[in-house]
Symmetry: D2
Subunit: 292 residues, 4 copies
């Protein structure tokens, strides 16, 4: 299982009345991603508000996604749990329902040491045969994993085989590429770093942007892979302000707002997360209208 | 309900075999704190590994603590939940079982805006009549609340009435004291800042240290309140290295290690947290032996 | 030579017409400090805009200060030069004119390594017999020296014998006190940390505040040394907003503005530094009027 | 005057005996750069240790460089002075000797406000007709200028017309490109960000690397401009570790060490800067041997 290209992240729609997960609407969002020609679907990431779901909801979203995608593209399942026991439970569940890849991040309350993170990944790896994407996102997870440490985990932990880098620092990608002699696939998780990441050797781009701007991220990916530099630069700068805006406004809230703008009633994020303010919604509307 | 003095934090013991919460041992730890003359007991804080407990375990610890303390001193219950709904549920439970104060922190995955934090606290305040201690601990919670913002919440939110400051920056306490004209009680949550915090006007010190060094924190508190400066300085520097060490080594892991050293079989922290290494245990043993 | 108490920092007045140093006005400022009962005078610190003076001006200020103070209190001369050669030249000059102490900081363009800083201090120490105050002020100097490193320099470099800590982090002072068993004198260089620093064992307070508020810093120092805790707290909070304001507004510009408010025509700071805006001047005027 | 391509930075050789500037050796270094096909020469930057030179030395280096280059390529003169008066003096001198561009940075002791920086640039602009490159290098200068602020200066200050960005954050370049609609030329000042900067639209790369690796930086620049993506990536990763190493080891010290390795007796950096340790020299030697 080696992922390449655009890995699309659905948000998790909530029912306006019950505030529960709305699986039918989730199906619509997955359809939007598939129509945008994504190369994989990653459920239960940051954009999917996984951290805010109950265990039952989490399982429903995971199972529904695998069944709905139905093998058209690989399905990645995000796991960001505070305890190793719960991460193992979720990983085993992901395996049972037929997911293809686990994306595992060291979400923390107490800052974890490298020894603790290593043991956490190792325990999850021993619990299922699924390949593990090591996911570094210090802004949400509270700990920052260096390229050297992540590569050490990939060397030593059976199923750990790829890296998603969301720190926003392109030098991390240089290090991963150089230290692994280009052999460890890595993926860009910082939307407004896409041009640099792909030029530096990222094998894919993990993004919720196709929920709102269709195959434009895919076009950018293709332009770079085709060596079409001028077009890549043009495409990137067209999307740049939008890509930055959905990150700084909070991915879940802004992508949900964008879907509402486009007529999909997916609801707002779960409290304490708030929907975009009306000013922010107006800005997003303008940015989206400029992108067709 | 106005807290003053030493607010003691029990760890949450786990059974070595089942890995479940060991309430009998929790009773022993509470006894240790009461013998150390603490002025209140605060369950389910960072030291209590609340973030790593299941809902059922959380409720058991909360209920047991209130019943075991049995009104000898006030009981504070910590709440650090990712969703507002869960925070409300826990707050109502704390009220039902007879707790005295809620200590509420804005634990976050997505970084919360001030508007989101305000709405979170307001919703919890509207759900119970219990007084709320606004708890700022950016290192564990992922967001940092300014003195100005916390005072605004205390002004505007019915039950929000006191502040626990754990950022480690003494200037925050200066601001709280000065901006509130000394009227909003605040508490020190950074062990190795105790001397400064109490001299700057903190009404109490939230600490798990009495689990290991008895009434020595209380002696320091009393010396400062008595205006006995030279003694306060001596007492503080006696405890200083120990106080810093349990913070930098992880409170839960190091206090549990210290209790084991003292013969209490309270188990290690929950994974992915690891027990102290044998080197760190030796250091702690030396520090404890110097403190009698 | 062991300094204790309040070490007063004069600003360097410039002539409104020529923009040159105005030594007569400097005499007036020194008088103000002596009337405020400072225990030492420190020329050519940050407040004295030493970094902005030509070599000739620097020498004039140094020589004038020593002659004008005339042994009433010790004179400290600040040295913050980019090259070791120039630092040595200034140190030798300070010795020749009869200064008592050199305050030496590692002002940097390239960030200096500990090895480079050590060699810099060692070279200056070998060039004169004057005692050296090791001065850590990362905000202006661009490098940050740890307590451990500064104590190592004091152990190993002949004339290095005391520390001025201006990082604003009280934990540094805890470390200095504890690691040196209270034997290395240290001084507070962060005005709004004065209460904490003195309670933690600082032997003195380096400050330009007496230029504007007379002996009130000295009263605070005396209250703490007398063990009069309640009075110390009251005095500190009276001065607190003023002390913070002159730091955040830029010491040289704000102290010069305050002197103008009080009727001393000392001019503004040297460009590119700008005088306080009229709004900031109004704020300072209010703060000063509250302090008598 | 619009610069494009590789802007080469000579170091400033010092005579091993006198420690003075060695102009003959400087000529050799300029020859090396010209042979490396640089598109411009920039004297008195960080690599040139300008901050450590006396006024006389600074003038000698500036004048010699202009005369020696003799119009073969444009000459940029770096100015990083603490006072506006001295910056003006140097700018006028640069104009008199026939330099083409001034590279001006806000080197600071007190952190400068935007108002102070603006006035500083404006005053220099009014003193000469030379075009000004606004140079942001927070690591050495102590202040950080945002893209928005630098563009405002370029809009409002007569001779300010281009930007050198050395913060290392590629997002700054995205902003400059986007906010100026691609009309304000910007240059990369962070060696190991070269691939990204040039792909993002940088018009040139300011670097001392050609002192050691000849026209390899130029080859990278040409590959990107030719849209030859695969070759650009290969060239970048060949140079990457070297480019990072000379930055983290200190540009002046490491480039001088590299020149010594290659047989040019240019001496070490000026104290307190130290030459590379023998371990670091060995590492550099290995990196250079890999680059031919």
């Amino acid at each position: 299982m080696e992922l390449s290209g655009i890995i699309g992240y659905p948000i998790t729609p909530f029912n306006a009345d019950t505030q529960g997960v709305d699986l039918e609407k989730l199906g619509n969002v997955i359809d939007i991603l598939l129509e945008a020609n994504v190369n994989a679907i990653a459920a239960l990431g940051s954009a999917g508000e996984a951290a805010y779901l109950s265990e039952l909801e989490w399982q429903q979203v995971a199972e529904f996604t695998v069944q709905y995608v139905a093998g058209k593209v690989p399905v990645v399942i995000g796991i960001a749990e505070l305890t190793t026991q719960q991460a193992i439970k979720y990983a085993q569940y992901a395996y049972e329902i037929g997911a293809d890849v686990i994306m595992l991040s060291p979400f923390s309350y107490y800052k974890l040491s490298e020894e603790e993170i290593f043991a956490h990944y190792d325990a999850v790896s021993n619990a299922t045969p699924l390949p593990i994407m090591v996911y570094n996102n210090p802004a949400t997870c509270g700990v920052d994993m260096s390229p050297e440490f992540m590569l050490k985990m990939i060397d030593s932990i059976k199923n750990a085989s790829m890296i998603k880098e969301s720190s926003g620092d392109i030098q991390r990608m240089h290090k991963i590429h150089k230290l692994s002699a280009g052999k460890v696939p890595f993926y860009n998780g910082c939307n407004h770093l896409a041009l640099e990441a792909l030029n530096a050797g990222a094998q894919g781009w993990c993004t919720a942007a196709p929920c709102l701007i269709g195959d434009q991220p895919k076009q950018l990916f293709d332009a770079i892979k085709a060596g079409n530099n001028a077009q890549a630069k043009t495409l990137f700068y067209q999307q740049y302000e939008f890509l930055e805006y959905i990150v700084v406004s909070g991915l879940a809230a802004s992508v949900k707002c964008g879907l509402e703008i486009k007529g999909h009633r997916v609801g707002g994020p779960r409290k304490p997360l708030l929907p975009l303010s009306s000013d922010a919604k107006n800005t997003l509307e303008t940015l989206l209208s400029e992108l067709g």
